[in-house]
Subunit: 207 residues, 2 copies
DNA sequence: CCTCATAGAAAACGTTGAGTTCTCTAATGC
DNA sequence: GCATTAGAGAACTCAACGTTTTCTATGAGG
């Protein structure tokens, strides 16, 4: 805030390139954690990162692109799908991973960006790639394993069925805004996902 | 724009109450049709409606509330569920109704508002009510009729199953941003909705 | 080690739109 | 007819965007 008197800012050490990038990303995430996506401004990011707005705009055309990169930067690799040995266990594990991700700063950023893309069709294309497909792709692997195990019939696997679970989860997050309970996930799996793939929801000792 | 010289604006006729409201709503919809939700500003709405910003702010606290009311004002009553005699026909009819709605100005407004609610959790609650539940409520009626006809078993009707079709449709609209094809709707119905309610998708001559 | 092009920090600026406040007056209720 | 309410238009403040300018640290080439 108040700088020591006599210090000329232009004589301070300066970061460049990757180091500066990281500092900016960290500032973005801190701002989101503190004020949410709506409260994030370029000016405050710059101030927090002790960077100049000019530096921000040299790198990114606007807020959405900046947040997008900052989110990618902090994105864990959730394409790792634990093989629990049953379709039920696998789907639950995947959904829990995603709920966990959405419950943090990255999730807040993703949801804010989705909002952005809904209001501004221009910026939409790039944003929508983010986080799409991933979940369905993983579902495809998981169900593929179930087919290989003989747990379900290959003829039942269609694009819409693979999307059903993810769609219910996303809808819950988007429309309720509340954290998703584990009960909800189990209902989705037992009432929808397993029936769609012809798997009887045999009672299991928690996946 | 340029008014006839000599006309004093304060001597023009004035609208009040409902008449003014309608004019404002019409202006909101015209602006959305012209510039989309993102391009809508209070100033242009006021100008277009030949109203003052003060009048807008006396009625609504902000842009979101205004658009919300304008959308409600133009909202058709899609709770009327045509009874086509089959679950497949009923669900398809409902989905087609909704796709049609979303493809117009009201849809644009709804999507923009959803975007708003994702960025600004404060304004979210009221906005999220809008358009939620309606579709699931109608699904409940439709499936109820199918149960009454003996077309499907009452034991299969759960909340998550009722939500599955709507969730897939919403996800499509939200994440692709493109108009939803009728083929997609049929896939949703035949691959997901009917199987979930234990109805065999007997080939039908178009619902 | 010196020189120079690059890129960064800070600050100032122009612009836009939000939301408020003011004045004057038409509409409306009594 | 008279008083009250509410609207039109304009001026205003404020916040944030995005740009431009000035000065200088950084890092590369010679």
């Amino acid at each position: 805030m108040t700088r020591a008197p006599g210090t000329d800012h232009r004589t301070l050490p300066r970061r460049r390139g990757a180091a500066l990038n990281s500092a900016i990303f960290a500032a973005v995430r801190a701002e989101i954690a503190e004020s949410g996506y709506a409260g994030l401004t370029m000016e405050r990011v710059a101030e927090r990162a002790r960077a100049s707005k000019a530096s921000l705009y040299r790198r990114w055309p606007g807020r959405a692109a900046l947040v997008l990169d900052a989110a990618y930067d902090a994105m864990p690799d959730y394409s790792s799908t634990p093989d629990t040995g049953s379709l039920r266990g696998d789907v639950l594990a995947l959904m829990r991973q995603i709920v966990l991700l959405l419950d943090g700063v990255v999730g807040e950023a993703m949801i804010g960006l989705l909002g952005e893309s809904l209001q501004n069709p221009d910026a939409a294309a790039q944003i929508r790639e983010f986080g799409r497909g991933n979940m369905v792709r993983t579902m495809r692997e998981i169900v593929g394993r179930a087919v290989a195990r003989g747990e379900c019939d290959a003829g039942l696997v269609t694009e819409r069925r693979l999307e059903a679970g993810p769609a219910l989860l996303r809808q819950r997050v988007i429309f309720s805004g509340l954290p998703v309970s584990d009960d909800y996930l189990q209902e989705v799996v037992d009432d929808v996902v397993l029936p769609l793939f012809g798997v009887r929801p045999e009672v299991q000792p928690e996946g």
